[in-house]
């Protein structure tokens, strides 16, 4: 286990963490405004298939990812219409969205199974070493010798952080999530912000799906997402609704998820089956230690999961 091993491993962890962090950011924004959308897996599937088919049709990386984001938004809007406008239960609706999105992708994807993403898209997203930053020893190799979407993810994390903490709109959205009644009396549109945050969240989840189908795997397969949407839901809680911590969480989980393959080379006296459980066990352990240390209040938005109706007495 030399330095090179660690650099290779961490570089891979950055890639493995990228779809996770995109989806986690998406769910984080959504939850900040008070909607608990458990349909992340479904939106990722929708983004993955629409992104992939758009890519096949147009051959354009740009349109492919726009398509992926739009598909995610479509899923989020279905969720929004049913839970915000029609006021249905968020948890059931989210689970239904997962069922729907998985079916949607499988259905549309059947005729293009095994098809490969267009060469132009594959070529666009090869690893590119950034000037200067990429020359930093170790760090540069790990973080700044990646594909463009990884870089875009760095920017998105900062943008989301800026939006949530520094911009008026983001603060309004946060108030909606913490106390919709107060937001309403301040003249902030609860419904408007919840839709807005859902749409942004959906777009990010769609991008996460697109990353998997267009860059990570680059061909269409049925079991593309394989539970990563659920991990994203967990990572939001893990991150305490903080976009920067979300990145650390996604790297941590993404890394643990693939470290087993690399540890097998060392013939450890541990069953490889138990190594498979490592990411989940470690998440539990870190979470428990964290709560032991801080015994903190819940970081969840106070209004999370509860619908708000002005007219109700």
């Amino acid at each position: 286990m030399d330095l090179n091993w660690f650099v290779c491993f961490l570089g891979a962890a950055v890639v493995a963490g990228t779809p996770l962090v995109l989806a986690t950011l998406g769910e984080l924004i959504t939850e900040k405004s008070g909607s608990l959308n458990l349909g992340v897996e479904g939106m990722m599937y929708m983004g993955a298939i629409i992104g992939f088919t758009t890519g096949l049709q147009t051959g354009s990386p740009f349109f492919a990812f726009i398509g992926a984001a739009l598909a995610g938004i479509l899923g989020a809007m279905i969720f929004g219409f049913v839970t915000i406008t029609l006021r249905a239960n968020q948890i059931v609706t989210g689970l239904t969205l997962t069922m729907f999105g998985t079916g949607f992708a499988g259905f549309i994807g059947t005729p293009i199974i095994g098809e490969r993403a267009p060469q132009k898209i594959i070529d666009t997203f090869v690893k590119v070493k950034l000037p200067l930053l990429g020359d930093i020893p170790v760090i540069g190799e790990i973080f700044f010798n990646q594909d463009y979407l990884v870089y875009l993810t760095y920017i998105l994390i900062i943008l989301v952080g800026f939006y949530l903490y520094k911009s008026r709109y983001g603060l309004n959205g946060t108030i909606v999530g913490e106390n919709p009644k107060a937001a309403d009396s301040l003249g902030i549109s609860v419904i408007g912000y919840r839709y807005l945050h859902l749409a942004m969240g959906g777009a990010l989840c769609g991008l996460a799906g697109g990353y998997l189908s267009l860059i990570y795997v680059p061909s269409w397969q049925d079991s593309m997402i394989a539970g990563r949407g659920w991990i994203a839901v967990a990572l939001v809680i893990f991150s305490k609704w903080n976009p920067y911590r979300a990145y650390i969480g996604a790297l941590f989980f993404g890394g643990l998820n693939i470290v087993g393959f690399r540890l097998q080379q060392f013939d450890l006296p541990v069953s490889t089956y138990l190594l498979d459980a490592l990411p989940y066990l470690m998440t539990v352990i870190v979470l428990v230690f964290d709560s032991m240390r801080s015994k903190s209040r819940s970081h969840a938005p106070a209004g999370l999961g509860t619908p708000y109706f002005r007219e109700e007495r």
Binding site: T85, L95, G103, F107, Y280, S291
Partner: protein, 358 residues
């Protein structure tokens, strides 16, 4: 401008109208999907019902499927009442199945009437302990239970995989990854053509209904669900109640695992739960945690799942289309609740203007 106001006392007839309309809408929309696939939607719907209820064999299969749905929903419903978001039904089923199988494989010389209760108790303990882990951490350190129960589902799945492929692999199976089948003694006897686990359903439905509605403990659970601080202020031992309830909640899921092993599959495999733990969440919510409603919704769900599976075989409808269809139906049913709980009133001013224009 339109306003939305809560609707008190929606009449039965109106509720029926709204639900029929919602389901018809869902069927219409998915009908286009089926037309697109080249099927006659009416034939498909007919055979969907046929697949769920069309013969005594099918009704039996639907009932067998209802059992794990209803029991698991009842189990996790208990913790939901306390606003303890236990989404670990899946893992609790697997761990219950695992400990029941352990007894079933190692004490197979025992007579049935001793072995089966032992297995059920083991299942209850296995599932219960698995649910106690997040409950304890939540009570002691306020660790988020949603993420814990979700992660523990994965840990349970990996554990069963390990058992199936390594630890408990049947050495007579030529290296195939298979846990030995349970012997006759360890299999649930049949009653009316169904395994005896079916009796648990009415017992638990009525038991839980009475428990929640009439007992002190049930009352305490409801209070904790309303407001934990109030409960503590009122002098209730909230931690103890949460731990106890979660043990029972997980224990019921664990018994489901035992039933699926000893009554349905006759062996333990990684497919033992196969999503029941997640479906049960939808069921528990749709039934608004009411024990009797859970039974009804579980049955309807079982009809939908059995019917959905049947049309795949009959019409070669891809599985993806079937889950798309189920998703659509659920969306419409969920959305239709709005028209039962609320009505839209248009302000008079607007109405006059519109009328004037007409």
């Amino acid at each position: 401008m339109a306003r939305i106001v809560p609707l008190e006392n929606c009449s039965m007839a109106k509720k029926v109208r709204i639900r029929v309309f919602a389901i018809l809408m869902a069927f219409t929309l998915s009908g286009f999907l089926l037309l697109f696939l080249g099927h006659n939607p009416f034939e498909v719907y007919a055979s969907m019902l046929d697949g769920g209820l069309g013969s005594s064999y099918r009704v039996k299969e639907t009932l067998i499927r209802t059992i794990p749905f209803a029991l698991t929903a009842l189990g996790i419903g208990l913790s939901f009442r306390m606003k303890f978001w236990n989404i670990g039904g899946e893992g609790q089923i697997m761990m219950g199945a695992c400990s029941a199988t352990f007894i079933g494989l190692n004490f197979q010389q025992l007579p049935s009437f001793i072995l089966l209760p032992l297995m059920a108790i083991a299942g209850m303990i296995g599932g219960g302990l698995w649910a106690l882990i997040p409950a304890f951490l939540k009570v002691r350190y306020r660790t988020n239970e949603t993420i814990l129960t979700l992660m523990l589902n994965y840990v349970a799945l990996k554990w069963i995989t390990y058992l199936q492929y390594v630890l408990w692999r049947d050495h007579e199976a030529f290296g195939y990854p298979k846990i030995p089948n349970l012997v006759k003694n360890a299999q649930l006897p049949k009653i009316f053509g169904l395994h005896i686990g079916v009796l648990l359903v009415p017992i638990l439905v009525i038991g839980i209904y009475l428990f929640i509605t009439y007992t002190k403990k049930g009352y305490e659970i409801r209070v904790i669900g309303e407001n934990e601080a109030t409960a503590r202020y009122a002098g209730m031992p909230t931690s103890k109640i949460i731990l106890g309830t979660l043990f029972v909640s997980g224990g019921i899921c664990g018994v489901v695992g035992m039933i699926q092993v000893a009554g349905v599959n006759m062996t333990l495999s990684i497919d033992v739960s196969n999503g029941v733990g997640y479906t049960a969440i939808i069921i528990a919510w749709l039934a608004q945690l009411n024990a009797i409603a859970i039974l009804v919704v579980s049955f309807l769900f079982a009809v939908m799942v059995e019917g959905g599976s049947y049309i795949q075989t009959v019409f070669q409808i891809p599985q993806a289309a079937a889950s798309l269809l189920q998703g659509l139906i659920l969306f419409f049913v969920l959305g239709s609740e709005f028209f039962i709980k609320y009505r839209v009133i248009r302000d008079r001013k607007t109405r006059i203007v519109t009328e004037g224009e007409v």
